[in-house]
C-alpha cells in the first residue's frame, strides 16, 4: 500500500516510517506541518525546518504546510496537506507516530475517515520503555532538542537516547512521573541517523534558548 507519514523529524514519526517500510509498505511522501504556534496541540515544533534535510537523505518528497496552529484551524491545514498527498502521490494510507495522545490520534483518524484513507498508528499504546529500547536496538541516533517539564533542564539538551539515558529516565519516571518516551510533551527529539537515512546528519552549530525547565535547542544540520 502507498502511504504518507505525518513527519516531525522526531523519534516517533521516524520510527513509524521505519516500521512501515519493514512491513513492506511504500512511503511515497512525508507531510510536515510547520506550526507558528509553539504550543500546538497537534504538532511538534523544535528543529522542524530540519526535516527537509531528513527527507532529502531518505529520498522522499516532502509536503511542507504552514499553519497558524490555532486549535481546529490547524486540522483543516492538515487535511489539505493529506489531500494533496492523496492527489499527487496516490497514497491510500496515512501513518502517524502517535503513542498515547487520544486527542492527536482521533483527529487524524477523523480526517482519514473523511478522505477515505487508511490510518496506521504502529506505535499506538506501546510501552514507552519498550519504545526507547527498540530505537537503540534498531540503530537510531537521536538527540534531545527540547525539554519542557521539571526536573528536566538545559543539561538534557543534546543528550543521546542510549542505555544511560533510559536508566536516568527510569529514575525520573519513578520519582516525578515523567513519561519515559516524553509522550506527555516532556521532551522533544530529533533523529540524526537511522537505517532509513543514506547518511548521518551532523550538527554544525546549535543555539539554546529558554529558562528554568523549558529549553529548546535549534540545531543547524549538515
Amino acid at each position: 500500500m502507498n502511504c504518507t507519514v505525518l513527519f516531525s523529524g522526531g523519534k516517533d514519526s521516524v520510527f513509524a516510517t521505519y516500521l512501515a517500510e519493514q512491513n513492506k509498505y511504500k512511503v511515497n511522501c512525508l507531510i510536515t506541518l510547520l506550526s507558528k504556534n509553539l504550543s500546538s496541540y497537534m504538532f511538534h515544533t523544535p528543529s522542524i525546518s530540519k526535516v527537509k534535510k531528513q527527507a532529502e537523505i531518505m529520498n522522499k518528497p516532502l509536503i511542507l504546510k504552514e499553519t497558524l496552529g490555532e486549535k481546529e484551524k490547524e486540522l483543516e491545514d492538515l487535511k489539505k496537506a493529506i489531500l494533496k498527498a492523496k492527489q499527487e502521490y496516490n497514497i491510500q494510507g496515512v501513518i502517524t507516530g502517535s503513542v498515547e495522545s487520544a486527542y492527536q490520534a482521533s483527529r487524524v483518524q477523523r480526517i482519514c475517515n473523511d478522505l477515505d484513507l487508511e490510518c496506521f498508528n504502529p506505535l499506538w499504546q506501546k510501552d514507552q520503555f519498550e519504545l526507547l529500547y527498540d530505537l537503540i536496538e534498531n540503530n537510531f541516533e537521536i538527540i534531545i532538542t527540547g525539554v519542557f517539564a521539571y526536573p528536566l533542564d538545559k543539561k538534557w539538551l543534546g543528550r543521546k537516547i542510549n542505555e544511560e539515558f533510559i536508566e536516568d529516565m527510569k529514575i525520573l519516571h519513578e520519582k516525578y512521573k515523567i513519561n519515559p518516551a516524553g509522550e506527555g510533551g516532556e521532551y522533544e527529539t530529533f533523529v540524526l541517523n537511522c537505517p532509513l537515512f543514506t547518511r548521518k546528519l551532523q550538527i554544525k552549530s546549535k543555539q539554546i534558548s529558554g529558562k528554568k525547565n523549558s529549553f529548546s535547542m535549534e540545531v543547524e544540520i549538515i
Partner: protein, 178 residues
C-alpha cells in the same frame, strides 16, 4: 490459555489493534497465543480457555466478506470477548444486523449494570463506523449515540464497541480472570 484472534487485514494494523491486547496479557503473565482469523482451526479453538476477537481500523471491513471463517463461534460455549470489529462478528454470527454510526475518540459510556469491572460512567476510546444489534444479546452500556456493551443471553459471549486496550485495560484483565 487465551486465544487472541487477529481481525485486521493489513499487517501494519497488528501493532495498533492486536499488540496492545497482547501487552496487557503479557503484563499480567497470562498465557496466550495470537493468530489471524484465517489461520484459526478446530485445534486452536479447543485448546483455548477463553477467546478475544480484536478490533481493526475504521476503513477495514474485509472480515465481513469472510464471516464463514468464524462459524466455529456457533459451536463453542467458552468465554469470548469481541472488541469493536470483534463485537460486530459476534453479533453477526447470532442474527445481528450492522447499523451505521460513527464515533471516534474519547466518549462517555454509561453502564446500566456492572460489566467486567466497569460501572457508572466511564471514558472510553471509540473507533467505529458501525455497531451491531442482535436480539440474542442484552445491552449493559450505551453512549449518547448507540449501544456499547452487550452480553449474549445464554452464552458467555461479551461484546464491547470501544477499545478497552486504550483506556480501559482492566476490562481485559477482568475478562481473563472470569
Amino acid at each position: 490459555m487465551i486465544l487472541i484472534v487477529q481481525i485486521p487485514k493489513e499487517r501494519l494494523h497488528y501493532f495498533e489493534f492486536v499488540k496492545p491486547i497482547e501487552d496487557v496479557l503479557k503484563k499480567n503473565k497470562t498465557e496466550f497465543i495470537s493468530i489471524h482469523y484465517k489461520s484459526v482451526d478446530k485445534q486452536v479453538v479447543s485448546n483455548a480457555d477463553k477467546i478475544i476477537l480484536s478490533g481493526t481500523s475504521l476503513r477495514d471491513n474485509f472480515f465481513l466478506q469472510e464471516l464463514d471463517c468464524f462459524s466455529w463461534l456457533k459451536k463453542i460455549d467458552k468465554p469470548v470477548l469481541g472488541i469493536c470489529a470483534g463485537m460486530h462478528i459476534l453479533g453477526l454470527m447470532f442474527n445481528g444486523k450492522l447499523r451505521k454510526k460513527t464515533e471516534i475518540g474519547l466518549v462517555d459510556v454509561f453502564f446500566e449494570r456492572e460489566f467486567l469491572g466497569l460501572k457508572n460512567t466511564v471514558e472510553c476510546y471509540e473507533l467505529h463506523n458501525f455497531y451491531v444489534e442482535s436480539k440474542e444479546f442484552e445491552v449493559f452500556a450505551k453512549s449518547e449515540k448507540c449501544l456499547q456493551v452487550v452480553k449474549h443471553k445464554q452464552k458467555p459471549f461479551y461484546g464491547v464497541l470501544f477499545h478497552p486496550e486504550v483506556r480501559n485495560k482492566k476490562l481485559l484483565s477482568s475478562f481473563t480472570e472470569i
